[in-house]
């Protein structure tokens, strides 16, 4: 038996190192995928920073500006391997500017041949390998820690991403976004539930509870939206201008709908599986005992869940807050306009979490209650 265990450990180590090696190889390929790009890419070799000047802001801050003289090597295209000179200026705060250091890969344009050397303008940073790096780290960890379940999670995520892309394409071809995201939320939750939890009656109940809760949250948001002052969509990030109010409303409702799917699935799975377990152990459990046990379980998870939703939604606004307050925009103004959407999504997400509890208990009770009365 000891030998067997040792053998198990050995295979885990082999598997783990295979996964790591494979992802290192993949990362290396993506890191060097210069030839796949049409636009010219150069890799920074040396950087010289010189102080340019300092400017004062309204609040009395002084900000130092620096100029960067960059030497880089062209990595693709006809000038491959040649040295190119680039320039960049940045302010210390790096609000809109970038500060480059050696090793960074940059997209360059307007490549012109001077007397001795090439010069060009920087048009962007090549970031694809960072995205690849974090994805690979996540995938590796999921496989190593999660095993088969982790693999299913990855599979599930990939299917969902493909579906999401299909949804975007359909929207591009003119379909209503709210309709699409309603259909998608049904698909998403069924995929997640059936792939992760397998096919069973509990899963079906969880699915029903999830969909009912999502519908409840969306309907509630719609009603609240109707009866409160119009939302100022000027501040919804990345909204394509011009837009119509009804379209923007629908878009925002879809965001609300999507945002609560994950959390609601989580809650309803926990509660339905707990309730079914209780009912299986004691089919004649009283209604009161069932409800109180479910409430007990739900109380343990709602608090931290709501915290998760809070931080995930709201933290990304920190830079915006700082920039705004430094520009003497009032704090409440930021909340009312810029951060409005994030806070709103957090609130609806939390309402979804809380609402999913009674809905799931009700769903379990309805299904099992009816079965009992028929037989």
């Amino acid at each position: 038996m000891y030998k067997n265990e040792f053998h198990m450990k050995k295979t885990t180590i082999i598997k783990g190192s295979a996964v790591v090696l494979l992802s290192l190889l993949l990362f290396f390929l993506i890191y060097n995928n210069y030839s796949l790009y049409d636009s010219t890419i150069a890799k920074v070799t040396t950087v010289q920073n010189t102080f340019l000047d300092s400017k004062n802001s309204t609040k009395g801050n002084t900000e130092n500006y620096y100029k960067q003289q960059i030497q880089a090597i062209v990595k693709n295209g006809p000038h491959k391997g040649q040295l190119v000179h680039l320039q960049n200026t940045y302010g210390e705060s790096l609000v809109y500017d970038n500060k480059y250091s050696s090793g960074t890969s940059l997209f360059i344009e307007n490549l012109t041949e001077g007397d001795k050397d090439l010069t060009a303008n920087i048009s962007g940073v090549k970031r694809d390998y960072y995205v690849a790096a974090v994805v690979l780290i996540l995938v590796d960890l999921l496989i190593m820690v999660g095993g088969l379940q982790g693999f299913f999670t990855i599979l599930c995520l990939s299917v969902n991403i493909i579906l999401f892309y299909a949804m975007l394409l359909l929207h591009y071809n003119g379909l209503n976004i709210l309709l699409l995201s309603s259909i998608m939320s049904v698909l998403f939750s069924s995929i997640v539930l059936f792939l992760i939890n397998g096919r069973s009656r509990t899963t079906v109940i969880a699915l029903c509870a999830t969909l009912a809760s999502i519908f409840f949250v969306t309907a509630l948001s719609f009603v609240v939206m109707r009866f409160t002052p119009d939302i100022d969509y000027e501040f919804l990030e990345y909204l394509i201008h011009p837009y119509e109010r009804s379209d923007a409303d629908m878009l925002f409702l879809s965001e609300i709908l999507m945002g609560c799917v994950g959390a609601i699935i989580d809650i309803s799975v926990t509660i339905t599986s707990c309730a079914s377990e209780l009912l299986r152990k004691d089919p004649f459990i009283t209604k009161k005992a069932l409800i109180s046990s479910c409430r007990e379980v739900s109380e343990d998870i709602t608090g931290t869940m709501i915290n998760t939703v809070f931080f995930t939604n709201v933290s990304s606004c920190i830079p915006l807050f700082i920039l705004s307050i430094q520009n003497e925009i009032k704090f409440m103004t930021v909340i009312r306009y810029n951060v409005f959407f994030e806070v709103c999504r957090f609130l609806t997400g939390s309402i979804g979490i809380v609402a999913a509890i009674p809905v799931s208990i009700l769903a379990v009770y309805l299904v099992y209650g009816r079965r009992d009365s028929t037989c």
């Binding site: 004062n56 801050n61 002084t62 900000e63 302010g91 210390e92 705060s93 790096l94 609000v95 809109y96 962007g124 940073v125 970031r127 694809d128 960072y130 995205v131 974090v134 780290i137 820690v145 379940q149 982790g150 999670t153 929207h171 976004i177 992760i196 409160t228 939302i231 990030e237 990345y238 394509i240 999507m258 945002g259 994950g262 959390a263 699935i265 799975v269 739900s298 109380e299 608090g303 931290t304 869940m305 709501i306 915290n307 998760t308 809070f310 931080f311 709201v314 920190i318 830079p319 807050f321 700082i322 920039l323 705004s324 307050i325 430094q326 520009n327 999504r345 609130l347 309402i351 809380v354």
Partner: protein, 259 residues
Amino acid sequence: MLIVLVLILIVLMLLVGGDKTAKSLVTLSFNCFILLCTIFAINMGLNPLISTVISCVVISLITLFYQNDINIKTKVAFISVLIVIAILFLLIFKIVSMSNIQGFPQDQLSIQDSNGYSRNISRNMMYIQISVILMVFIGAIIDTALAVASALYEVHLNNPDLSKEKIFESGIHIGRDILSSTVHTLFFIYIAEYLTLFIQFVDDSTFVQMINSKEFCQEFISIALSGVGCVLIIPITAFLGSWFYKRHKIAPVESELNN
């Protein structure tokens, strides 16, 4: 609209939940307050990294110890959270400083020089971006750590004779069950937050443009790293749990005393 939603949330929480949910309402307001404090601290010119790490610690202290009492479970969860923050801090620092994802994309905001606003704020946006990423995942890792730690404790209570290795193993198994739902929760929040961004990308850019753009990378990297944190905390909590629960033979008595 916000006020109405807040009211609905509070009423629902009080209706559905019991004492503990009411407690979590208090925790939530505390956390909200701490987030605001962090923003003001950074705004006043304190080092963003230091203030964020401090507020992360305070947040985990409140969420774990106020909401769930001080016992061995929450202690294990707290230490694991600290370890994960320490490990990921280095990774985050490296990735953020290399990939230039700080600040804002060139023309996303209305706070521009041309509108009379200043970009000279003398606050380092790179550090602030690191703070953002830390803040994004703090909630999620506390959630996972607590779930693993308390489930593991139940296992230990019910089978006190289990060896350290066996407890560690069952910790990993418990973690696997939570894993997918946590990752999906994050995934859907991300999709919702950037629905407009993705619609814009489908409208007028290519995949290559998207994957190299600041907008996309900023958010994608923060969400993916928070997923990494959630996965990483499972073995760490399992290990610490197996270590501490075994050492504290009198653990059950201790937790009862604290309750």
